[in-house]
């Protein structure tokens, strides 16, 4: 089994299944912070998919897109937690 087959038939389905499981958590999530964490995790798994796709198509420029996506996901999580903290203080 070559590296490409390993990535295509094992790692990629694993990431797809995990995105579905995380999405169930996103829908059920009892509290708001559960949903924020699951949203962050969905984007992180998407970054993994982009990285595998970049190896598979031999295009290193996709990695820059993954990096910018990681940056925006980090900013989104930080902003969510910032306003969650402020909302708890106000209540």
């Amino acid at each position: 089994m070559s590296l490409y087959e390993y990535l295509y038939y094992i790692i990629l389905p694993l990431l797809a299944i995990s995105i579905l499981i995380i999405f169930v958590r996103f829908l059920k999530g009892p509290t708001l912070s559960d949903r924020v964490v699951s949203l962050d995790l969905i984007i992180t798994t998407g970054i993994g998919i982009i990285a595998i796709y970049s190896i598979h198509t031999n295009q290193p420029t996709f990695l820059d897109i993954a990096m910018i996506l990681a940056l925006i996901a980090f900013l989104g999580t930080v902003a969510f937690s910032y306003y969650l903290e402020k909302r708890e203080k106000n209540d």
């Binding site: 910018i68 940056l71 925006i72 910032y82």
Partner: protein, 136 residues
């Protein structure tokens, strides 16, 4: 927010992200990138710093109101667009310097247009986010 890890990381992230933004801006002529994405990354760098250290400190770094970047960027893009009219070309024709600049490569009027877009995007994003954070 009062977390020491985030505060320390943000002081290192700010110059690193600004450098990455300039890299994306300069690369944009032949590869993915350009003024818009570079401007967004530069704005995100300042926003992360303002979340970690408070908005007043970020304002102290920038020194002037970010809204002033908008007219400067628009003027730069306009000058880059109408410059070919004075040399006999049509509007927005690419003008190129004869010799390549070291490290950057060939420099033309497209780069100045991109720098104008960069400044406008940074100014707009920072103005919006600072205004929102002041009201909350």
């Amino acid at each position: 927010m009062k977390t020491i890890i985030f505060k320390t990381a943000s002081s290192y992230l700010l110059p690193l992200l600004l450098l990455f933004a300039i890299f994306i801006l300069l690369r944009g002529h032949y590869l993915p990138g350009g003024g818009f994405v570079g401007g967004l990354i530069a704005a995100i760098a300042f926003v992360i710093h303002s979340f970690a250290n408070g908005i007043e400190k970020t304002r102290g770094i920038i020194k002037f109101h970010p809204g002033f970047l908008m007219p400067i960027g628009l003027a730069l893009a306009l000058i880059a667009a109408i410059a070919p009219l004075f040399t006999g070309g049509a509007l927005m024709t690419g003008l190129w310097f004869e010799n390549p600049v070291p490290v950057i490569g060939m420099v033309g009027s497209a780069l100045f247009f991109d720098i104008g877009v960069f400044l406008v995007v940074v100014g707009v994003t920072l103005t919006i986010i600072f205004t929102i954070s002041e009201t909350i």
